[in-house]
């Protein structure tokens, strides 16, 4: 979610659609909004209502500076995790790489 919001502020449904487009599957509102709420309470996101076209407005989330820092930390952890798990899943390729 932090990565999606790094590109631009968005409301909940757009975040869910983008996560699905990225291949993470359909995320229900029952999972999405509690997480957004926690990230907001932890100061990683701002949440502001914008006026709708004649109807009720929508709540738009955006990354805070703390959120950007947290995204960098989390991204580095995921990259490390991916390297380790790739080495475990493909040990031959990993060893060949080391011999070169």
């Amino acid at each position: 979610m932090l990565r999606v919001l790094k590109d631009r502020p968005a409301h909940g449904y757009v975040i869910a659609a983008e996560l699905e487009r990225l291949g993470l599957g359909a995320l229900g509102g029952g999972t999405l909004y509690p997480i957004l709420g926690r990230l907001h309470r932890d100061g990683l996101l701002t949440a502001e209502w914008t006026a709708g076209d004649g109807g009720p407005g929508r709540k738009v989330y955006a990354l805070t500076d703390v959120g950007v820092q947290e995204l960098d930390v989390q991204a580095e952890r995921w990259r490390r995790f991916a390297r380790i798990t790739s080495g475990i899943a493909s040990p031959v390729a990993g060893q060949a790489g080391e011999q070169r």
Binding site: G12, Y33, P34, G37, E48, G52, K59
Partner: protein
Amino acid sequence: MNKNETVDLLAPSVEAGWRDDFVLELRLIGASGPVIADALAEVEDHCRESGQGAEDAFGPSVEYARALELPDESRWTPAQLLRTATILLLLVFGVNAGLAGAIALANDRRVEISVGLLISGGVSLAMMMLVFVLGVRLLRFVFAHPAWFAIGFAAAVTVVPLAGLPFRNAVLGSLPAGPTLAMGIIAVALAAAVAAIVKLAGKSLADPLVPPRSCS
């Protein structure tokens, strides 16, 4: 605008049963009116955008309400406690004095002030305060344990008149019936006036669902 109209305005696309259960659960959790309105408006936005029903998009309303982990804001401030205690004190005194005065006037007697009367009045005041102070927590208990609440309520209703019974003959003095009745009526009127002033000042205990305000 009444409660149903507010909820209709906030979430017209959301199934009525789902949103009523959702609002009730958030009230029981102790979330404030504006926070509940915010959560409900977000459900409405998601349902409108996705074309899904709330049950499909969010699952059962009670589980979703709990998953939001909203803070319990139902605790009272000292000022709220003082205002409520003043109104209740005037009401309890007014009703007791008015009734005692009316009965004594009808029987052409004086009103006897006994220790028992003071104890009963004190106990009923304490119980009324307890109901207000516990508020949401009491409501939570009523929904979770209706049978225990019924037993407790029956016990409380019995205890109030019985509490002063052993001391009913310990008379401290007496008052003339007419002035006692007048004092009772004045006290009830004062309670109503204080309640009206509190409401006009926007400090009543009502916690309506205030729609979230847009920043643009």
